[in-house]
Symmetry: C2
Subunit: 376 residues, 2 copies
């Protein structure tokens, strides 16, 4: 009996409203993981709490020393760089809030069947590496170049297509300095952990996670627009499969609350005592600097401006916000939303797309304010 | 409108066969995470890949220096120990494979609605700390003591009961040296990460995760059997809610494969080329040393003995096993099972219990062996 790769992959599927998650979605949710929202307390997410999404397997890289990153294609000089060689370049460290393009997918209806994130696919790290534009400059880009293609060693099948994970960036983004793209070899001052791309990865501040190619092996300058699977099939905003769609690029604004009080184990519903409650959280946008954050304690009917901390020089990182709330006994829904300098904000009803990308629906945190004398 | 804590918690629920996962289960799966199975390659699980299960929130501990662990109750001298003071005791480091008692729950039918693990709630770490028996000896246990109760600072509600996480150990286990229970302050040579119990946690080698109390604040020696929620309500093997049930204690034997070849993104089905394929994985048992591991490449119809590595002095850690397989084109289901010295092994049909505890069903890894010339 002969088998083809298309036998292992089903077509893209939408789960109708009311259909619970399947074991395929659970297998992804159990492997990958989000940020426990209380970990937004930390400016820089501690190791192991940053969200992780691996398309295929975490590659086995037994020996960093033999790793070579090549820069080739439409260049004057092909480069072949070891991690040690890259560490000898002047180092740049950038604090970046990274978010999965599929964050919020599991809240959509119908639900695109894929990695089922609610709101937690985010994290912030200090990434250290070499500016990509220095490497491209050293290689010498030839005329006619339009895109730069990044290839990782993670290998798998997606909708019947066998592939190494590959993404492209337009040449002006790859060679730009706002954001400055990094070939990173360190996270929070330590070598990259296996699940974050050891030994080398791309970091594109302000862009969704799909651009941040891990286990980076090849950088190829090309003179035709890159049309690989992850560029032209996946990571497009579409209503129907037939349309070309818009590419997923920079992160839409989002604010999240650290859920206050304490949780119920199963429902995650929060319990607070009556009286003043500090509401705090983080806000970010990859499209433009965050200008304000609002908070609602009545499910989005009314909004109050929160106190927004300055970015402390970290343009590409989330910013802390806070607001005092006077809780009274009853059931409440807490929400927050961010606004950015380009006029983007967050919807109360999420526009839908086929892949479940770039959602930034206002978060809803159910809270019960319980009279402490009545806990039976 | 007055609200009671019981309003936030539903009763325990079973999801009937065919009911997909709910958003409550997903919220837990997105916060907590398992070990990506390819990370079984490492003897010691790298930071961030070890499974994590947090009942409530990861507590905020801004300052280790003010943390005090008390040892009190039926003792002659109450102890109050800072993490720095504990680090001054002779240190013991033990390599321990830890597994969540709920591992495998999501494979049961009907499915107990709780944290929905498939097979991946496991990890191995080197834990460093002070033997609990030394602390109890220093405190001086009074006559009549029967249990030792461990209290963490993580706080929440479960089935209407507000609680700090608490578990007890029988006195003979707490003071025993096989396994030697640790009050641990380091994981893999570094201070405990927040999600693994910083600054102090209990480590009970060979026992399921519920015994490994994180964010440990109090050790209390008691003269009546401990009947707290996590001891008498949760973590019991029961068929019906009314029965007392058996306590969940030591880890049942389990072997897992590192899924070979490469995966399909959504189905996680594996693809291998025809020819020799190295099958490898890990095996462990908290009940007795593993004596043998078998492998099946036909879904459990026939079994072959795998090569089992010695424990290299790490009695409480998983052991590597391997076996060569000659793959031929077609669809295969790979399985493995462990046997331990006490005669325990793994079932092909999982006995069911109400909480979904202590499952150790034989793993099934679907693999397609594809002819490389026929990949369309």
């Amino acid at each position: 009996m002969r088998r083809r790769l298309s036998d292992v992959s089903g077509p893209a599927r939408l789960a109708p409203s009311g259909e619970g998650l399947g074991q395929d979605e659970l297998a992804l949710a159990a492997r990958n993981h989000g940020l426990p929202l209380e970990a937004m307390r930390y400016d820089v997410t501690p190791p192991g709490l940053h969200y992780v999404l691996t398309h295929y397997d975490i590659p086995h890289v037994p020996d960093d020393a033999s790793w070579r990153l090549t820069v080739s294609g439409r260049v004057q000089r092909v480069l072949s760089l070891s991690p040690a060689r890259l560490r000898a370049y002047p180092a740049v460290t950038t604090r970046v809030t990274m978010e999965c393009a599929g964050n919020g997918r599991a809240l959509l209806s119908p639900r695109p069947v894929s990695q089922p994130w609610l709101v937690e696919a985010v994290g912030t790290a200090d990434w250290t590496g070499v500016p990509l534009r220095l490497l491209l400059d050293e290689a010498g880009i030839e005329s006619g170049a339009v895109d730069v293609v990044f290839t990782g060693v993670d290998h798998g099948v997606e909708r019947g297509v066998e592939q190494d994970y590959q993404r492209g960036l337009p040449l002006d983004v790859a060679t730009g300095d706002d954001p400055e793209v990094l070939v990173a070899y360190a996270m929070n001052g330590a070598p990259l952990p296996p699940q974050h791309g050891s030994p080398l990865r791309l970091v594109v501040p302000g862009w969704y996670g799909m651009a941040q190619v891990k286990w980076l092996r090849d950088i190829t300058v090309v003179d035709t627009p890159f049309t690989g699977f992850q560029q032209s099939v996946a990571y497009r905003i579409r209503q129907v499969p037939e349309e070309e769609g818009e590419p997923v690029t920079r992160i839409a604004p989002r604010a999240l609350l650290i859920p206050p009080g304490f949780p119920d184990f199963m429902s995650r519903t929060r319990v607070v005592a009556p009286g003043p409650v500090l509401l705090e959280g983080r806000a970010w946008s990859g499209r433009a600097p965050v200008t304000s954050v609002e908070v609602s304690t009545d499910g989005g009917l009314t909004w109050h401006r929160a106190r927004l901390e300055p970015d402390h020089g970290h343009r590409w990182a989330w910013r802390r916000w806070s607001s005092m709330w006077s809780a009274v006994p009853g059931v409440h829904v807490l929400s927050t939303r961010a606004h950015d300098e380009a006029g983007n904000t967050q919807p109360l009803v999420q526009p839908w797309n086929l892949g479940g990308f770039a959602s930034n629906l206002v978060q809803r945190v159910p809270v019960i304010c319980a009279d402490p004398t009545d806990t039976a």
